[in-house]
Assembly symmetry: C2
Homo-oligomer: 213 residues x 2
DNA sequence: TGGCGTTTTAAACGTATGTTTGAAACACTT
DNA sequence: AAGTGTTTCAAACATACGTTTAAAACGCCA
């Protein structure tokens, strides 16, 4: 019990602090103080700060990616060779993400902030770790996206998929500030699921745009 | 001459290093070494590291915002009361951005990376500085956007404008990696202007989406 | 209960950071 | 050329960091 509790406390504290202040700006002393464990515990249980960062991601992504893998397999079976439907693909992904943090909705927001940080702070080791560990699922999803948009040129699809990724990352990365702004500007509270309900039509329309520049 | 040269060298070096490694990860010693000036020069000329960061943004944003202000005034005059056109508004913004770094295209990419960092790294002081200093121009642009999309509900427009911002920030933030990937995947080199030509139709279609979730 | 591997602890290590200092070098007016 | 305000410089300062250490405390099986 001792080992699990200490390691878990550290992961909990690190997850929250990293998402609030970034990786470089969060010290091991911040983390161990919040977790109420000894400073040396991080190096004892995780080896280094870098490994701790990776462990934070792995704890969230391992179950998520496993579940997404299952969901995609089930959907491919249902399709029986027919091409995938775009809105359905987007729904599969967002539902999987939402349900992977269903017990504590705040955790999805926290994790999306971490993912955003991973791509904006240096953390080259993190990007390498993520691609190595989870790259295959995203390649698989990308193939299904291609099936669902046969009318697009490879070039248009390439760019627009990255635009979708950007809108999604940016939005979910700052979903807490955005929902707060929404409540202030529109007088209407919103949760992550509401934001996603607005987001998906935007993404689908953008991907399938027929406006010529 | 001495003062200007030293301060300029520092700003040049800081701009580049910050965009490559982030703010916390770039030390004053990194900067002053690259700029080939004495370590104490930063504190002498700028007062502190925070003020240096703000100065880097001000150097780029002051001329950009001044130019955008002029461009918007000219466009409003041309409209003579008619509602603004969406694609035209997007073009005005992107053209102004592109031309504000026309002499050295790489500077726009560098600056967009900095802007992304400003919103993902802690740097609360920076966000406050940016809103205080340049908020009025973005409010003005936002009003024109509203004119150009009268068919949208305030709620849809609110969310979709932020999705657009996200797609844009993410894309231009990583435009160097993206163009490299594009060349690898599509066998077709691309520059920032090409990326924007793909981006604008995506944004316009997303904003005007009529897909129901 | 005694012994042993695991975990926790307080303290220290070496290094890097932002900032300050006071003297030296410089530019420019009188 | 002397004097004055500005800028540069090498050095030091205080602080914070990630990591290591060696002893103490703990958990558990014999």
């Amino acid at each position: 019990m001792a080992q699990k509790d200490t390691a878990r406390s550290i992961l909990d504290a690190a997850e929250e602090l990293f998402s609030e202040r970034g990786f470089a700006e969060t010290s091991l002393r911040n983390i161990t103080t919040k977790a109420d464990v000894n400073l040396a515990a991080v190096n004892y249980h995780f080896g280094s700060k870098k490994s701790l960062i990776q462990a934070v991601f792995a704890r969230f992504l391992n179950p998520f990616v496993a579940e997404l893998d299952k969901v995609l397999s089930r959907y491919e079976r249902e399709l029986e060779g027919r091409p995938a439907d775009l809105m359905m693909l987007l729904r599969l992904l967002s539902d999987t993400a939402l349900s992977s943090a269903a017990d504590k909705p705040q955790r999805l927001n926290i994790f999306m902030r971490l993912l955003g940080l991973a791509y904006s702070q240096g953390q080259g080791h993190l990007r390498r770790f993520l691609r190595l560990e989870y790259g295959h699922v995203f390649l698989r999803y990308s193939d299904l996206l291609t099936q669902s948009t046969p009318e697009l040129s490879d070039e248009d699809r390439f760019w627009r998929v990255h635009f979708m990724l950007g809108a999604t990352m940016f939005t979910l990365n700052g979903v807490d500030s955005l929902t707060a702004m929404a409540e202030h500007d529109l007088g209407k509270p919103a949760v992550t699921a509401d934001v996603i309900n607005h987001l998906l039509p935007f993404l689908a329309s953008g991907l399938q745009s027929s406006i010529r520049g």
